[in-house]
Amino acid sequence: MKLYKKEGNIVQILSFPNESAEKGNYLLVEDSEAGRALIVQVIDVQFASIPGVLEELLRSLPDGGEFLQGEDFDPLEIAPHITYIQDASLLVCKIRATVENNNLSPSSSWLPSRSQSVIKKLPISNLLKLADVNGKFPIVLGGTRESSLLTIDASALDGGLNIITGKKGTGKSHLSKLLMLNLVGYKATVVVFDLNGEYLSLGVSADDKRNAYYDKVHVLTPGQNFKVALKQLNLSVVLGILVHALHLPGTSAREFKRIWQSLKERDMLTLRELGEAIRNLNCNQHVRDALASRYHSLMNSGFFTDNVAESAALEECLFRAKEQGGAVVVNLRNTSSIDRQIVVEYVLGKLVDSLTNWKLRATFLFAEEAHLYLRETYWDDIVTRMRHFGIFTTFITNQPDTIRENIYRQADNIFLFNFTNEHDLDVVSRAARVDAETVRSIARDLPPQYCLALGKVVHDFPMVVKVKALDVKTMGETRLFFKDAG
């Protein structure tokens, strides 16, 4: 390999057919005289612009598109040299760091010698050592293309905002399960908003046996084993549900507040009493109607109960998870859009409440397709305010444009699976921790199960990894009509 060109933080390297390099590979451009080396990553592989190649190709197709038949008498065997030159490739590489005395710096301001530099592949395992990626809480993400393991440190997910995105069927949920279970393994508290019931069997292995996480995975299904008694609710949480999930106007919310406080003072906070109070409210007809309709929505959700005994599920689960680590899976499958928002408002309110009162230390929140249940204002809340309370969110989506640009800008880690759509790639490339060229070029060619890890987890050295298999029962598979046919 030969260094050909450097423009900004892009270098172009000429590579010959016997020197294979793929997108995502790391190369070390060593200038021994300067005592420094550049760490560069291949972001694109192109044909080298060899003069005369067009003529060469045209020459072989002169007869109406058919190959010209003939015999070549090439006694000096120059043809292999011609194909060798013709197949030379140009590796477009992004400079990631400079190594000097075994120390890494992000500098790309120096120019290695074109004639003296030696270019060789930098195995991911060596790069991980150089970048000191391994830590106290290792999570094996999977294997790199060089068959070495990519291990990240769970602490890099701590206090951060993560995004897992990619098109359908590429392995996003699989990775989020892997991260979740590893976090649980390190006694972290994890809350999952499970839209499709994919996380329900995390405690069961593929052969239907209990696995090590069986006792740590708590599935809460709203209306079944997950109900809330009004007495346990703070007014702020209820108002949050009414205003944000059920869109109750301000005037009506004020009336509701009065009713709530009155019932609470009299220790009569039950569904029946609340209904009665709204019915007997002496106020504007429209306000009463508005309150009545919201009350019926709450009733119909099946999420609220007057039985305190069946309403302690979330707190219990969080408490158990706090002690020994655990995942609280909020099963939102088969839940209507309104009910979903009610449940999410409640859970988030409860989490903030528990974290504020130090009942919980911190929580890792995994939110699948959050745009389907998260109200607009929560996005900013999650990445700013809630982060300070100790809610560290991982968004999982196959529609990257449903996550706002400012979320991408603040993301600490992005796990990017395959995207072919330019628009999707454009959206993701707005992330602050990665350059657009890397995202566009590498993500487009990722095979299923392969992901490009970006951000703190890989010390800002984008790495392609094949996410390792998990021994858990697969759930949430698409129901197919032709599955058993053929």
């Binding site: 060469e56 002169p62 010209l68 038949q69 003939g70 006694p75 000096l76 120059i78 060798y84 030159i85």
Partner: protein, 341 residues
């Protein structure tokens, strides 16, 4: 088939390269393809009118063509590094096929040029042939002269193997020049005739003029395809014409080319042959496709030049040196390189 010539080419090539190992190699950016044939400016030449009108003649006939090419791929401090390649293309049953010889790479120096040239010449000319002897060419004429040797050998092979065909040569049927002896060309023409084939030589460029204008540029209102015969051509000895010269415009809207046809053939044979060419070959822009393919197949591309430089440096350890371009050095931005000098 007589394979003495290619054998000698290989041997001479390898021998010359082996002796080049100690020399540093200056890569040369300025390639050259084969030089044009030498032509004189005859006096009193004219075109005979009216032209011979051509009608496509549907008789299945094999069309074969030959061309060679040479290029300088570098310089050493002792000489030059050149490559030669030849191609024969033929069209039979609507399909084009080819045989390509080379590239043969030679390191030619003042010291070895005589040996190399004479070895190749002897491989082709039998001692009894009595060919015209012009001695050994200068170093800078060597590439074209060696390519001419290969071309004549390929032409001879076609003449010896093709029956009742049309043999297309690149250039003219002028003999008695340093690279084409009269004896040799006569022998090729006669061999072709003996197998009922006819040789048609197309020149892409000509310097022949009538009334001060190039014969291929003269305005004409005649309906193509046609042939215009040239009369009154007299060349200075020892140069002789072994064919009659025509201006051939073979396709409507195409270019006109100088066409030399074997002088020994009757006028009818000449016209019939060109008429058969009209139906047995594609004539894009008035130029036969077979001959075009032969040219394309032997021409060196920049990619091949790089590959040959790679081959010589890898296999024969030639050291690449960069000799400064004196024009650029002396004249800066006004020095456009040696080829513009």
């Amino acid at each position: 088939m007589d394979t003495m010539m290619p054998k000698r080419f290989i041997e001479s090539s390898l021998q010359s390269l082996t002796h080049a190992q100690s020399h540093p190699l200056q890569l040369n950016q300025q390639g050259f393809q084969q030089a044009n044939n030498i032509e004189v400016h005859p006096q009193a030449a004219r075109l005979r009118l009216p032209p011979l009108t051509l009608k496509p003649r549907h008789v299945e006939t094999m069309v074969a063509a030959v061309d060679t090419s040479t290029i300088k791929i570098g310089e050493t401090n002792a000489g030059i590094l050149i490559a030669i390649r030849g191609a024969a293309v033929w069209k039979e049953s609507r399909n084009y096929r080819y045989t390509r010889l080379g590239p043969f790479v030679f390191h030619i120096t003042e010291e070895n040029k005589r040996d190399v040239y004479q070895t190749l010449e002897r491989a082709y000319f039998s001692p009894s042939a009595g060919h015209d002897h012009y001695g050994c060419p200068g170093l800078w004429q060597m590439p074209t002269r060696m390519a001419s040797l290969l071309e004549r050998w390929l032409q001879t092979m076609l003449a010896k193997t093709v029956d009742k065909g049309l043999l297309l040569f690149d250039g003219s049927l002028t003999a008695g020049t340093p690279d084409t002896s009269v004896h040799l060309l006569k022998e090729i023409l006669s061999t072709a005739r003996s197998r009922s084939s006819l040789i048609l030589a197309f020149s892409k460029m000509t310097t022949l003029r009538v009334n001060g204008r190039l014969i291929t540029d003269l305005p004409s209102d005649f309906k193509s395809p046609y042939l215009l015969e040239m009369e009154g051509l007299k060349l200075k000895p020892p140069t002789v014409l072994l064919g009659d010269v025509y201006v051939a415009k073979l396709a409507h809207g195409g270019y006109a080319f100088r066409l030399d046809i074997d002088r020994e053939a009757t006028v009818e044979q000449r016209v019939w042959s060109v008429e058969k060419l009209l139906t047995n070959d594609l004539l894009l822009q008035g130029y036969p496709e077979t001959l075009r393919l032969a040219h394309i197949l032997c021409t060196f591309t920049a990619n091949e030049v790089i590959a040959m430089q790679h081959f010589t440096t890898r296999k024969y350890g030639l050291r690449i040196v960069n000799r400064p371009d004196m024009h650029s050095l002396l004249f800066g931005p006004f020095g456009k390189g040696e080829c513009y000098a």
